[in-house]
Symmetry: C2
Subunit: 454 residues, 2 copies
């Protein structure tokens, strides 16, 4: 065999067993989104390249998968342009479409394009794959699913509460213990202002975001390099190791950002959200975490990050509020807030904790052994009765050796096998074998249906 | 607004309403596949370009969407190659991946690649989008879903029976009346042999396939151009207008292909399949149609084509048996048979016949009106109770004017609205308004749950 079949780097085939577990995660997320009034939309895999470029920073632009124009894609490229061998500018001429990089930008484009059909506030969810030409590594793929919910057109903090409840409900249903961390970008801005770094807010958040990786000392070094020293640095250092309840920490923070209007607004929002949270509560702990920054600079209010309490794997869900997502598409002033579940990481956590044991795969309950001829006809009739009763079942397609057919039932983990040869046919019954216990019994078709349905 | 948001040509956004109808079709197909013992797999959107090229003919190769290599894609292209401006050969150098064109080739690649994990016969289904750079027109898109089921590794005609039953069950559940047409490529080969056109079998099938479009006269003209004249042409002409039952037509055909071993094998297979069909029957008619050819030349046995009895829109499902699909990937001798549902056309048929009326969208059952302050807290508690009882519900996020909130409930077609202001709060009850009848009544939270659950 000269040709060795393979999939592209960083992409995956999903076999039935893995896929059913993944679908269990998607189905859970989907049903919780529905319970909270979110409606599904889908957008095309490809977007016009101008919809995508410039939205994810320079790094993001490099990671876009571009789709070559069909037909003679060189038609409009001049000889001069070819000679320059400039991959960037040439790609713009020969590839006018790209695969979506996330679900947020397509959602923003969707809202603007369909503004006249949409009722605001618009609550949508979207579960679709995205593509990034990232270097593949353990747990990082070039094609992966995102599971987003956003509400756009409302500034109310009840939306934030709802998203926290959704997170809590999804992970409760999946039996995964998590910590739901929240912060507010306005508080971070207040801290930056208090430290005299308002003009360096973006690098300031980037520095703080590294706390997990480089520790307090590392972050402080980075803050020093931004120009923070002495008392201001000391004060900020205290923030990283703050203790006490959510409310206690909020009052400590309030005293630090008291001079910043934005900072105080952030504290006010956090307190209001904590107040909402007291009405309904959550099964998983809600933790205010002032060091939570989240890289994406379009967040402007509450930010969320969820981590597993039992497996150290990074964030399994995240999101936040943005003041002006659709502005880039010519529709300014629409505030929104959203979250995104990371299905791949949730899968890994559940796999590691053995939480898929209870997931019942949709495999057939019954295999009819095929004895050929008249026996096969008899079995096909019983099989039809099973399916009409809603029992997933099949017949081995050929009258192969019984051992081979039994091995097939084993390999597919089919719990019941039915043998119907001449004897059974004459007696008008079937022999039912329980593959787990090895027990055999004679049953009627009705009895078979009743047993297989359990 | 200078920038007008749009999606690429031939691609579509799906709004909640359309998507829920589409999902109804997908869910129906999925559950019938499961009932018949088929297991789901998924393959990546992209395949290595060598997996795709040469599988769909020259025309197909032109319709592949190719994905530009990331980074400096010109790195390994020589100046000479650039100067030649040969789009075809250049694309091979700068794009080593392509988007899948159908689900059959990725399935064949999957089977060969995972041969050691798979138990044969392997019954898989796959519901995923495919991409073709076709010229978009009414009902033809550049991104669309295919819903395939195939069983590979068994030559038994019980598989064909099963697929016919699946077709029948899917369309019965969707309430779409169809005609299930079958033929056998071996019979077509027998007819070609009898007509002395065995060496022109492929153009022969192409000619016959056009019957719908060009009529008997047109087909006969085309057959004449292939070298068919006199008695032989006259005989074949009779085939196009054969009447009688399936069995009668099969015996007429048998007498025509009696000199062809392949032809007689085809008749034998058809008769055996018709015999199987008599065991279980179908609600929709099964019709042998000797003029059914299906373009794809990898089919070698039974072929299927399904048309709506009420809407003239072409085939809504099709498929057939192939003797050697995985041979191209180095694993010869595996026979398989499969079908594919065309979700877009089924959608159009159902839309035209008004069959979506019964599809209950997953929209929220209850909207809590938001009066702000203490009333909002009270409503949030009732809302929490509703959701814990599994009722999809939401609160309007802001304490906006009641009229605005009511308009929102109307636009979203939410059937129940709950008003809970100071009076209700003091009385420990809620006011429930039925949006359809306009009726209002005072209820407890428990009564609300009971009503909304219906």
């Amino acid at each position: 065999m000269s040709y060795k079949p393979a999939v592209p780097k960083g992409m995956r085939d999903f076999s039935p067993e893995v896929l059913e577990k993944r679908n269990h995660i998607f189905d859970t997320i989907r049903s919780v989104y529905t319970l909270y009034g979110y409606m599904p939309i889908e957008t095309p895999s490809m977007e016009l390249i101008e919809t995508l470029t410039g939205k994810y920073g320079n790094e993001g632009d490099k990671l876009l998968f571009r789709v070559l124009n069909s037909g003679d894609f060189l038609k409009e490229v001049t000889g001069e342009e070819l000679e320059q061998r400039e991959a960037n500018s040439l790609s713009a001429k020969i590839a006018d479409k790209g695969l979506r990089y996330d679900l947020t930008v397509p959602f923003a484009r969707y809202v603007v394009q369909h503004r006249n059909e949409i009722t605001l506030p618009f609550k949508r969810y979207q579960i679709q794959p995205v593509w990034r030409a990232d270097r593949p590594q353990k747990g990082r793929y070039r094609e992966f699913f995102q599971c987003d919910a956003d509400v756009i057109g409302s500034t109310s903090l009840t939306n934030e509460l709802e998203l926290i409840q959704i997170i809590d409900e999804v992970f409760s249903r999946l039996d995964v213990n998590v910590e739901i961390r929240i912060n507010n970008r306005k508080i971070l801005y207040g801290l930056a202002e208090a430290a005299g770094l308002a003009d360096k807010f973006y690098p300031f958040t980037i520095a703080i975001d590294k706390l997990d990786k480089v520790g307090v000392t590392g972050v402080c070094q980075e803050l020093e390099s931004l120009g923070l020293h002495g008392e201001a640095l000391k004060k900020l250092k205290l923030v990283f190791s703050m203790e006490g309840s959510n409310t206690e920490r909020m009052s400590a923070i309030a005293s630090m950002v008291t001079g910043s209007t934005t900072g105080m607004k952030g504290v006010e929002e956090m307190n209001a959200l904590l107040d909402y949270h007291r009405i309904t509560g959550t099964r998983n702990p809600l933790i205010t975490d002032i060091t939570l920054a989240r890289g994406l600079n379009y967040y402007t209010g509450t930010i969320f990050e969820v981590t597993s309490s039992d497996v150290s794997i990074g964030s399994v869900c995240g999101g936040g509020r943005y003041d002006d997502l659709t502005g880039i598409f010519g529709m300014p002033g629409l505030s929104g807030v959203g979250i995104s579940f990371g299905a791949d990481r949730i899968y890994d956590v559940m796999q590691e904790l053995g939480l898929f044991v209870q997931v019942m795969p949709n495999r057939p309950q019954v295999l009819m052994i095929n004895f050929g001829g008249e026996d096969e006809r008899y079995s096909l009739q019983a099989l039809d009765a099973l399916r009409r009763a809603g029992v997933a079942a099949e017949i081995y397609p050929d009258a192969a050796r019984i051992k081979k057919q039994m091995t097939y039932a084993d390999a597919r983990k089919i719990p019941f096998v039915v043998l119907a040869g001449e004897q059974e046919r004459e007696a008008g019954c079937l022999t039912l074998k329980n593959m787990l216990t090895g027990e055999q019994q004679r049953v009627t078709v009705e009895e078979l249906v009743a047993v297989a349905r359990q």
